[in-house]
Amino acid sequence: MRESEVERLREDLLATVRELSSTYEELSLLYKLSEEFTGLGVEEICDVMLSEITSLIDVETAAVLFWDEDTESFFLIKYAGQACDFSPSSYKEILCESMHRQRPTVVCKVHENPVLKEMPFRSVLLIPFKGKKKRLGVLLIANKRGSDEFFSGEIKLLQSIASLAGVFIENALLSEQMHEFLLGAIKAFVKALESTSAWTAGHTERVTEYCIGIGKMMGLSSEEIEKLRVCALLHDIGKIATPNEILNKPGKLEENEWAEIRRHPLVGSDILSEMTHYQDVIQCIRYHHEHYDGSGIVGLKGEEIPLFARILAVADAFDAMTSDRPYRSRLPLDSAVKEIVANSGSQFDPQVVRAFLRWVRLTYRIELPESELYSQL
Protein backbone atom coordinates (compact mmCIF):
# COMPACT_ATOMS: atom_id res chain seq x y z
CA MET A 1 0.00 0.00 0.00
CA ARG A 2 1.34 3.39 -0.94
CA GLU A 3 2.07 5.91 1.75
CA SER A 4 -0.49 8.39 0.41
CA GLU A 5 -3.15 5.70 0.54
CA VAL A 6 -2.29 4.86 4.14
CA GLU A 7 -2.50 8.54 5.00
CA ARG A 8 -5.92 8.81 3.31
CA LEU A 9 -7.21 5.76 5.21
CA ARG A 10 -5.90 7.22 8.43
CA GLU A 11 -7.79 10.45 7.80
CA ASP A 12 -10.97 8.52 6.94
CA LEU A 13 -10.65 6.53 10.12
CA LEU A 14 -10.20 9.66 12.19
CA ALA A 15 -13.24 11.30 10.57
CA THR A 16 -15.28 8.16 11.27
CA VAL A 17 -14.10 8.07 14.88
CA ARG A 18 -15.14 11.71 15.32
CA GLU A 19 -18.55 11.12 13.83
CA LEU A 20 -19.10 8.00 15.92
CA SER A 21 -17.85 9.89 18.92
CA SER A 22 -20.57 12.50 18.58
CA THR A 23 -23.17 9.74 18.14
CA TYR A 24 -21.76 8.10 21.25
CA GLU A 25 -22.06 11.40 23.10
CA GLU A 26 -25.72 11.60 22.04
CA LEU A 27 -26.32 7.98 23.01
CA SER A 28 -24.91 8.54 26.47
CA LEU A 29 -27.06 11.65 26.89
CA LEU A 30 -30.27 9.84 25.89
CA TYR A 31 -29.33 6.95 28.17
CA LYS A 32 -28.81 9.34 31.05
CA LEU A 33 -32.04 11.23 30.31
CA SER A 34 -34.15 8.09 30.10
CA GLU A 35 -32.85 7.12 33.54
CA GLU A 36 -33.61 10.60 34.89
CA PHE A 37 -37.09 10.78 33.34
CA THR A 38 -38.16 7.47 34.86
CA GLY A 39 -40.82 7.90 37.52
CA LEU A 40 -41.11 11.68 37.11
CA GLY A 41 -44.31 13.69 36.68
CA VAL A 42 -45.02 15.76 33.56
CA GLU A 43 -43.67 19.06 34.88
CA GLU A 44 -40.55 17.46 36.33
CA ILE A 45 -39.79 15.80 32.97
CA CYS A 46 -40.09 19.20 31.30
CA ASP A 47 -37.75 20.74 33.89
CA VAL A 48 -35.10 18.04 33.38
CA MET A 49 -35.37 18.34 29.59
CA LEU A 50 -35.08 22.15 29.64
CA SER A 51 -32.14 22.20 32.00
CA GLU A 52 -30.31 19.65 29.84
CA ILE A 53 -31.03 21.67 26.69
CA THR A 54 -29.85 24.95 28.19
CA SER A 55 -26.64 23.29 29.36
CA LEU A 56 -25.99 21.87 25.88
CA ILE A 57 -26.84 24.92 23.79
CA ASP A 58 -26.21 28.50 24.80
CA VAL A 59 -29.68 29.99 24.36
CA GLU A 60 -31.57 32.72 26.18
CA THR A 61 -34.89 30.90 26.41
CA ALA A 62 -36.14 27.34 26.08
CA ALA A 63 -39.82 26.55 26.63
CA VAL A 64 -42.23 23.63 26.43
CA LEU A 65 -45.60 24.37 24.84
CA PHE A 66 -48.36 21.80 25.19
CA TRP A 67 -51.17 21.33 22.72
CA ASP A 68 -54.63 21.14 24.26
CA GLU A 69 -56.92 19.17 21.97
CA ASP A 70 -60.13 20.30 23.68
CA THR A 71 -59.53 24.02 23.30
CA GLU A 72 -57.36 23.58 20.20
CA SER A 73 -54.71 25.87 21.60
CA PHE A 74 -51.14 25.87 22.85
CA PHE A 75 -50.18 26.77 26.38
CA LEU A 76 -46.83 27.34 28.03
CA ILE A 77 -46.13 24.66 30.63
CA LYS A 78 -42.47 25.32 31.58
CA TYR A 79 -39.57 27.47 30.51
CA ALA A 80 -35.91 27.90 31.35
CA GLY A 81 -33.70 30.94 30.96
CA GLN A 82 -35.11 34.40 30.40
CA ALA A 83 -38.78 35.07 31.07
CA CYS A 84 -40.98 33.87 28.28
CA ASP A 85 -43.66 36.57 28.04
CA PHE A 86 -45.20 35.79 24.71
CA SER A 87 -48.60 34.40 24.00
CA PRO A 88 -48.54 31.05 22.16
CA SER A 89 -52.05 31.67 20.83
CA SER A 90 -50.76 34.55 18.67
CA TYR A 91 -48.51 32.11 16.81
CA LYS A 92 -50.85 29.16 16.69
CA GLU A 93 -50.55 28.84 12.93
CA ILE A 94 -46.81 28.26 12.74
CA LEU A 95 -46.80 26.12 15.91
CA CYS A 96 -49.59 23.95 14.47
CA GLU A 97 -47.82 23.63 11.18
CA SER A 98 -44.63 22.47 12.85
CA MET A 99 -46.56 20.04 15.01
CA HIS A 100 -48.64 18.56 12.20
CA ARG A 101 -45.69 18.14 9.88
CA GLN A 102 -43.63 16.74 12.77
CA ARG A 103 -40.62 18.56 11.43
CA PRO A 104 -38.51 21.23 13.08
CA THR A 105 -38.93 24.85 12.00
CA VAL A 106 -36.01 27.26 12.07
CA VAL A 107 -36.45 31.03 11.83
CA CYS A 108 -33.05 32.73 12.02
CA LYS A 109 -34.26 36.29 11.55
CA VAL A 110 -37.60 36.64 13.26
CA HIS A 111 -37.98 40.37 12.49
CA GLU A 112 -37.82 39.64 8.75
CA ASN A 113 -40.51 36.97 8.91
CA PRO A 114 -43.96 38.35 7.98
CA VAL A 115 -45.85 35.90 10.26
CA LEU A 116 -43.56 36.07 13.27
CA LYS A 117 -42.15 39.57 13.25
CA GLU A 118 -44.05 40.55 16.42
CA MET A 119 -42.54 37.65 18.34
CA PRO A 120 -40.23 38.96 21.09
CA PHE A 121 -37.24 36.90 19.90
CA ARG A 122 -34.36 37.31 17.42
CA SER A 123 -34.18 33.68 16.33
CA VAL A 124 -36.43 30.72 16.99
CA LEU A 125 -36.24 26.97 16.63
CA LEU A 126 -39.43 24.92 16.99
CA ILE A 127 -39.16 21.18 17.65
CA PRO A 128 -42.46 19.27 17.69
CA PHE A 129 -42.77 16.28 19.98
CA LYS A 130 -45.26 13.48 20.36
CA GLY A 131 -45.95 10.35 22.34
CA LYS A 132 -46.80 6.94 20.91
CA LYS A 133 -50.41 7.93 20.33
CA LYS A 134 -50.74 11.67 20.34
CA ARG A 135 -49.08 14.85 19.23
CA LEU A 136 -48.19 16.59 22.44
CA GLY A 137 -46.73 19.97 21.63
CA VAL A 138 -43.72 21.98 20.58
CA LEU A 139 -40.38 22.72 22.15
CA LEU A 140 -39.40 26.35 21.58
CA ILE A 141 -35.75 27.40 21.61
CA ALA A 142 -35.09 31.11 21.21
CA ASN A 143 -32.21 33.56 20.89
CA LYS A 144 -29.08 31.50 20.56
CA ARG A 145 -26.15 33.46 21.95
CA GLY A 146 -23.24 34.20 19.64
CA SER A 147 -25.07 33.26 16.44
CA ASP A 148 -28.60 33.18 15.13
CA GLU A 149 -27.95 29.98 13.17
CA PHE A 150 -28.94 26.61 14.55
CA PHE A 151 -26.69 23.78 13.32
CA SER A 152 -28.07 20.54 11.94
CA GLY A 153 -26.23 18.55 14.66
CA GLU A 154 -27.93 20.62 17.37
CA ILE A 155 -31.33 20.26 15.77
CA LYS A 156 -30.90 16.48 15.46
CA LEU A 157 -29.86 16.22 19.10
CA LEU A 158 -32.82 18.35 20.25
CA GLN A 159 -35.16 16.19 18.18
CA SER A 160 -33.80 13.07 19.88
CA ILE A 161 -34.23 14.62 23.34
CA ALA A 162 -37.76 15.84 22.54
CA SER A 163 -38.89 12.52 21.12
CA LEU A 164 -37.56 10.65 24.16
CA ALA A 165 -39.23 13.16 26.49
CA GLY A 166 -42.47 12.84 24.47
CA VAL A 167 -42.80 9.15 25.29
CA PHE A 168 -42.13 9.76 28.98
CA ILE A 169 -44.51 12.75 29.09
CA GLU A 170 -47.31 10.72 27.49
CA ASN A 171 -46.80 7.94 30.04
CA ALA A 172 -46.74 10.43 32.90
CA LEU A 173 -49.96 12.04 31.60
CA LEU A 174 -51.62 8.63 31.43
CA SER A 175 -50.51 7.76 34.92
CA GLU A 176 -51.79 11.12 36.23
CA GLN A 177 -55.14 10.43 34.53
CA MET A 178 -55.27 6.98 36.11
CA HIS A 179 -54.58 8.47 39.52
CA GLU A 180 -57.34 11.07 38.99
CA PHE A 181 -59.69 8.28 37.97
CA LEU A 182 -58.80 6.26 41.05
CA LEU A 183 -59.37 9.27 43.31
CA GLY A 184 -62.70 9.97 41.56
CA ALA A 185 -63.85 6.39 42.09
CA ILE A 186 -62.78 6.48 45.75
CA LYS A 187 -64.57 9.79 46.32
CA ALA A 188 -67.72 8.28 44.82
CA PHE A 189 -67.50 5.39 47.32
CA VAL A 190 -67.03 7.81 50.17
CA LYS A 191 -70.00 9.90 49.07
CA ALA A 192 -72.16 6.79 49.00
CA LEU A 193 -70.97 5.88 52.49
CA GLU A 194 -71.47 9.34 53.96
CA SER A 195 -74.88 9.84 52.36
CA THR A 196 -76.38 7.38 54.84
CA SER A 197 -75.41 9.47 57.85
CA ALA A 198 -75.82 13.20 58.20
CA TRP A 199 -73.34 13.15 61.11
CA THR A 200 -70.39 11.91 59.13
CA ALA A 201 -70.93 14.07 56.03
CA GLY A 202 -67.72 15.86 55.14
CA HIS A 203 -65.68 13.95 57.74
CA THR A 204 -63.55 12.11 55.17
CA GLU A 205 -62.86 15.24 53.17
CA ARG A 206 -61.77 17.17 56.27
CA VAL A 207 -59.61 14.32 57.60
CA THR A 208 -57.94 14.14 54.17
CA GLU A 209 -57.19 17.85 54.30
CA TYR A 210 -55.76 17.56 57.85
CA CYS A 211 -53.65 14.51 56.96
CA ILE A 212 -52.12 16.28 53.98
CA GLY A 213 -51.43 19.36 56.11
CA ILE A 214 -49.65 17.28 58.75
CA GLY A 215 -47.85 15.19 56.12
CA LYS A 216 -46.47 18.31 54.45
CA MET A 217 -45.25 19.61 57.82
CA MET A 218 -43.44 16.29 58.23
CA GLY A 219 -41.69 16.82 54.91
CA LEU A 220 -43.29 13.91 53.02
CA SER A 221 -42.60 13.74 49.28
CA SER A 222 -45.38 14.49 46.79
CA GLU A 223 -45.61 10.77 46.04
CA GLU A 224 -46.06 9.98 49.74
CA ILE A 225 -48.66 12.75 50.07
CA GLU A 226 -50.68 11.16 47.25
CA LYS A 227 -50.55 7.78 49.01
CA LEU A 228 -51.59 9.47 52.25
CA ARG A 229 -54.50 11.09 50.40
CA VAL A 230 -55.75 7.66 49.27
CA CYS A 231 -55.40 6.33 52.85
CA ALA A 232 -57.34 9.26 54.29
CA LEU A 233 -60.11 9.05 51.69
CA LEU A 234 -60.61 5.35 52.36
CA HIS A 235 -59.98 5.23 56.12
CA ASP A 236 -63.62 4.82 57.17
CA ILE A 237 -64.74 2.61 54.28
CA GLY A 238 -65.26 -0.23 56.79
CA LYS A 239 -68.15 1.70 58.34
CA ILE A 240 -70.21 0.53 55.38
CA ALA A 241 -70.71 -2.63 57.45
CA THR A 242 -71.71 -0.76 60.62
CA PRO A 243 -75.49 -0.62 61.07
CA ASN A 244 -76.90 2.84 60.45
CA GLU A 245 -78.84 2.83 63.70
CA ILE A 246 -75.50 2.70 65.51
CA LEU A 247 -73.84 5.37 63.34
CA ASN A 248 -76.85 7.66 63.69
CA LYS A 249 -77.79 6.85 67.28
CA PRO A 250 -78.56 9.96 69.30
CA GLY A 251 -77.11 9.53 72.75
CA LYS A 252 -74.35 7.42 74.20
CA LEU A 253 -73.45 4.07 72.67
CA GLU A 254 -73.64 0.79 74.55
CA GLU A 255 -70.53 -1.36 74.90
CA ASN A 256 -71.70 -3.84 72.25
CA GLU A 257 -72.33 -0.92 69.87
CA TRP A 258 -68.83 0.42 70.46
CA ALA A 259 -67.53 -3.08 69.74
CA GLU A 260 -69.35 -2.94 66.41
CA ILE A 261 -67.79 0.46 65.58
CA ARG A 262 -64.32 -0.74 66.57
CA ARG A 263 -64.51 -3.40 63.85
CA HIS A 264 -64.42 -0.83 61.03
CA PRO A 265 -60.62 -0.70 60.51
CA LEU A 266 -60.52 -4.48 60.10
CA VAL A 267 -63.61 -4.57 57.88
CA GLY A 268 -62.20 -1.70 55.80
CA SER A 269 -58.87 -3.42 55.20
CA ASP A 270 -60.68 -6.66 54.31
CA ILE A 271 -62.87 -4.83 51.78
CA LEU A 272 -59.76 -3.30 50.21
CA SER A 273 -57.70 -6.49 50.18
CA GLU A 274 -58.32 -6.86 46.43
CA MET A 275 -56.27 -3.70 45.81
CA THR A 276 -53.12 -5.78 45.71
CA HIS A 277 -50.84 -2.88 44.76
CA TYR A 278 -51.99 -0.84 47.74
CA GLN A 279 -50.77 -3.02 50.59
CA ASP A 280 -49.42 0.02 52.43
CA VAL A 281 -52.80 1.77 52.15
CA ILE A 282 -54.56 -1.35 53.43
CA GLN A 283 -52.17 -1.62 56.39
CA CYS A 284 -52.69 2.04 57.20
CA ILE A 285 -56.48 1.61 57.27
CA ARG A 286 -56.24 -1.55 59.33
CA TYR A 287 -54.19 0.18 62.02
CA HIS A 288 -55.50 3.74 62.10
CA HIS A 289 -57.11 3.21 65.51
CA GLU A 290 -53.98 1.78 67.11
CA HIS A 291 -52.52 3.69 70.05
CA TYR A 292 -48.87 4.69 70.17
CA ASP A 293 -48.42 3.02 73.56
CA GLY A 294 -49.90 -0.28 72.36
CA SER A 295 -53.30 0.12 74.05
CA GLY A 296 -55.32 0.22 70.79
CA ILE A 297 -57.57 -2.34 69.13
CA VAL A 298 -54.90 -4.76 67.88
CA GLY A 299 -52.10 -3.72 70.24
CA LEU A 300 -49.43 -2.51 67.77
CA LYS A 301 -47.03 -0.09 69.37
CA GLY A 302 -44.81 2.87 68.37
CA GLU A 303 -43.26 2.49 64.92
CA GLU A 304 -44.90 -0.90 64.42
CA ILE A 305 -47.91 1.23 63.48
CA PRO A 306 -47.44 2.48 59.90
CA LEU A 307 -46.58 6.21 59.75
CA PHE A 308 -49.65 7.06 57.65
CA ALA A 309 -51.85 5.33 60.25
CA ARG A 310 -50.23 7.43 63.01
CA ILE A 311 -50.93 10.61 61.03
CA LEU A 312 -54.48 9.48 60.29
CA ALA A 313 -55.10 8.81 64.00
CA VAL A 314 -54.36 12.44 64.89
CA ALA A 315 -56.33 13.92 61.98
CA ASP A 316 -59.29 11.61 62.63
CA ALA A 317 -59.43 12.42 66.35
CA PHE A 318 -59.09 16.15 65.68
CA ASP A 319 -62.04 16.13 63.27
CA ALA A 320 -64.12 13.94 65.58
CA MET A 321 -63.60 16.39 68.44
CA THR A 322 -64.27 19.51 66.37
CA SER A 323 -67.48 18.14 64.79
CA ASP A 324 -70.94 17.77 66.33
CA ARG A 325 -71.96 14.21 67.16
CA PRO A 326 -75.46 12.84 67.87
CA TYR A 327 -74.53 12.53 71.54
CA ARG A 328 -72.41 15.67 72.07
CA SER A 329 -71.57 19.08 70.64
CA ARG A 330 -68.23 19.94 69.15
CA LEU A 331 -65.31 21.08 71.28
CA PRO A 332 -63.73 24.49 70.76
CA LEU A 333 -60.56 24.36 68.62
CA ASP A 334 -58.09 25.05 71.43
CA SER A 335 -59.66 22.38 73.68
CA ALA A 336 -59.35 19.84 70.88
CA VAL A 337 -55.71 20.77 70.33
CA LYS A 338 -55.01 20.46 74.07
CA GLU A 339 -56.68 17.06 74.09
CA ILE A 340 -54.45 15.85 71.25
CA VAL A 341 -51.36 17.12 73.08
CA ALA A 342 -52.52 15.56 76.34
CA ASN A 343 -52.67 12.19 74.58
CA SER A 344 -49.33 12.55 72.85
CA GLY A 345 -47.15 9.56 73.63
CA SER A 346 -50.08 7.48 74.81
CA GLN A 347 -52.62 7.54 71.98
CA PHE A 348 -50.63 9.59 69.45
CA ASP A 349 -47.10 9.66 68.07
CA PRO A 350 -45.36 12.75 69.57
CA GLN A 351 -43.55 13.37 66.29
CA VAL A 352 -46.90 13.56 64.46
CA VAL A 353 -48.38 15.75 67.21
CA ARG A 354 -45.52 18.23 66.81
CA ALA A 355 -46.19 18.44 63.05
CA PHE A 356 -49.91 18.75 63.80
CA LEU A 357 -49.28 21.74 66.11
CA ARG A 358 -47.21 23.49 63.43
CA TRP A 359 -50.00 22.86 60.93
CA VAL A 360 -52.72 24.13 63.31
CA ARG A 361 -50.77 27.31 64.00
CA LEU A 362 -50.27 27.98 60.28
CA THR A 363 -53.78 27.05 59.18
CA TYR A 364 -55.89 28.65 61.88
CA ARG A 365 -53.45 31.44 62.64
CA ILE A 366 -54.01 30.92 66.33
CA GLU A 367 -51.55 31.54 69.07
CA LEU A 368 -50.99 28.33 70.97
CA PRO A 369 -49.66 28.50 74.50
CA GLU A 370 -46.53 26.94 73.05
CA SER A 371 -44.39 26.36 76.10
CA GLU A 372 -47.26 24.79 77.96
CA LEU A 373 -48.10 22.50 75.04
CA TYR A 374 -44.58 21.57 74.06
CA SER A 375 -43.52 20.84 77.61
CA GLN A 376 -45.84 17.89 77.47
CA LEU A 377 -44.32 16.50 74.26
Binding site: L14, L20, S21, Y24, E25, L27, S28, L29, K32
Partner: protein, 122 residues
Protein backbone atom coordinates in the same frame (compact mmCIF):
# COMPACT_ATOMS: atom_id res chain seq x y z
CA UNK B 1 5.14 18.89 29.79
CA UNK B 2 1.59 17.81 28.97
CA UNK B 3 -0.14 15.54 31.44
CA UNK B 4 -0.23 11.90 30.45
CA UNK B 5 -3.34 9.72 30.53
CA UNK B 6 -3.24 5.98 29.96
CA UNK B 7 -6.34 4.21 28.64
CA UNK B 8 -6.70 0.43 28.92
CA UNK B 9 -9.69 -1.05 27.11
CA UNK B 10 -10.16 -3.98 24.73
CA UNK B 11 -12.59 -2.01 22.51
CA UNK B 12 -10.61 -0.22 19.77
CA UNK B 13 -13.34 2.36 19.19
CA UNK B 14 -13.31 3.48 22.82
CA UNK B 15 -9.52 3.83 22.68
CA UNK B 16 -9.57 5.81 19.43
CA UNK B 17 -12.39 8.06 20.62
CA UNK B 18 -10.71 8.94 23.93
CA UNK B 19 -7.31 9.32 22.30
CA UNK B 20 -8.62 11.77 19.70
CA UNK B 21 -10.69 13.79 22.17
CA UNK B 22 -7.94 13.99 24.81
CA UNK B 23 -5.12 14.76 22.36
CA UNK B 24 -7.15 17.63 20.95
CA UNK B 25 -7.43 18.94 24.52
CA UNK B 26 -3.63 18.95 24.78
CA UNK B 27 -3.14 15.78 26.79
CA UNK B 28 -0.61 13.07 26.10
CA UNK B 29 -2.39 9.73 25.63
CA UNK B 30 -1.06 6.17 25.82
CA UNK B 31 -3.48 3.40 24.85
CA UNK B 32 -3.37 -0.32 25.60
CA UNK B 33 -5.66 -2.95 24.11
CA UNK B 34 -5.03 -5.60 26.72
CA UNK B 35 -4.50 -5.70 30.44
CA UNK B 36 -1.91 -8.49 30.31
CA UNK B 37 1.52 -6.99 30.77
CA UNK B 38 -0.02 -3.59 31.57
CA UNK B 39 1.92 -3.21 34.84
CA UNK B 40 5.24 -2.98 33.02
CA UNK B 41 3.92 -0.32 30.65
CA UNK B 42 2.46 1.65 33.57
CA UNK B 43 5.80 1.57 35.40
CA UNK B 44 7.61 2.66 32.27
CA UNK B 45 5.18 5.39 31.19
CA UNK B 46 4.26 6.69 34.67
CA UNK B 47 0.93 8.26 33.58
CA UNK B 48 -0.80 10.96 35.65
CA UNK B 49 -4.09 9.06 35.48
CA UNK B 50 -5.34 5.68 34.26
CA UNK B 51 -8.69 5.01 32.62
CA UNK B 52 -9.37 1.34 33.03
CA UNK B 53 -12.09 -0.89 31.57
CA UNK B 54 -13.61 -3.41 33.99
CA UNK B 55 -14.44 -6.29 31.66
CA UNK B 56 -11.33 -7.45 29.86
CA UNK B 57 -10.10 -10.96 28.94
CA UNK B 58 -7.30 -12.57 30.96
CA UNK B 59 -6.72 -9.92 33.66
CA UNK B 60 -9.93 -8.08 34.65
CA UNK B 61 -9.89 -4.34 35.33
CA UNK B 62 -10.65 -5.00 38.98
CA UNK B 63 -7.64 -7.29 39.37
CA UNK B 64 -5.35 -4.88 37.55
CA UNK B 65 -6.68 -2.04 39.71
CA UNK B 66 -5.84 -4.02 42.87
CA UNK B 67 -2.34 -4.73 41.54
CA UNK B 68 -1.71 -1.07 40.81
CA UNK B 69 -3.06 0.10 44.15
CA UNK B 70 -0.92 -2.35 46.12
CA UNK B 71 2.34 -1.59 44.31
CA UNK B 72 3.96 1.41 46.07
CA UNK B 73 5.77 2.41 42.88
CA UNK B 74 2.48 3.26 41.09
CA UNK B 75 -0.20 3.15 43.81
CA UNK B 76 -0.64 6.94 43.90
CA UNK B 77 -1.85 7.13 40.27
CA UNK B 78 -5.61 7.91 40.22
CA UNK B 79 -7.74 5.27 38.46
CA UNK B 80 -11.06 5.91 36.72
CA UNK B 81 -12.99 2.68 36.11
CA UNK B 82 -14.91 2.51 32.87
CA UNK B 83 -17.54 -0.16 32.63
CA UNK B 84 -20.89 -1.24 31.29
CA UNK B 85 -21.87 -2.56 34.68
CA UNK B 86 -24.36 -0.21 36.29
CA UNK B 87 -25.50 -1.77 39.52
CA UNK B 88 -24.77 -0.03 42.79
CA UNK B 89 -23.11 -3.12 44.25
CA UNK B 90 -20.71 -3.20 41.33
CA UNK B 91 -19.89 0.41 42.01
CA UNK B 92 -19.07 -0.39 45.63
CA UNK B 93 -16.85 -3.28 44.52
CA UNK B 94 -15.12 -1.01 42.00
CA UNK B 95 -14.44 1.64 44.63
CA UNK B 96 -13.42 -0.87 47.28
CA UNK B 97 -10.67 -2.19 45.00
CA UNK B 98 -9.18 1.29 45.05
CA UNK B 99 -10.67 2.97 41.96
CA UNK B 100 -11.01 6.73 42.41
CA UNK B 101 -14.04 7.09 40.21
CA UNK B 102 -16.56 4.90 38.49
CA UNK B 103 -17.96 5.83 35.06
CA UNK B 104 -20.61 3.75 33.34
CA UNK B 105 -20.78 3.09 29.59
CA UNK B 106 -22.19 4.62 27.52
CA UNK B 107 -20.38 7.65 28.93
CA UNK B 108 -20.19 11.18 27.62
CA UNK B 109 -16.69 11.73 26.14
CA UNK B 110 -17.09 15.45 26.90
CA UNK B 111 -17.85 14.79 30.57
CA UNK B 112 -15.05 12.22 30.81
CA UNK B 113 -12.56 14.81 29.58
CA UNK B 114 -13.94 17.36 32.06
CA UNK B 115 -13.60 15.06 35.08
CA UNK B 116 -10.11 13.96 34.01
CA UNK B 117 -8.95 17.57 33.64
CA UNK B 118 -10.56 18.41 36.95
CA UNK B 119 -8.52 15.66 38.59
CA UNK B 120 -5.09 16.17 37.00
CA UNK B 121 -5.26 19.76 35.80
CA UNK B 122 -4.73 20.62 32.14
Amino acid sequence: MPKKVMVIDDEPFILMMIEDKFKRAGLDVVTLRESKGAMEVIKREKPDLIILDWMMPEVSGIDLCKQIKTDPEVSSIPIFMLTAKGQEDDEKLGLSCGADRYITKPFSPRTLLEVVLERIGS
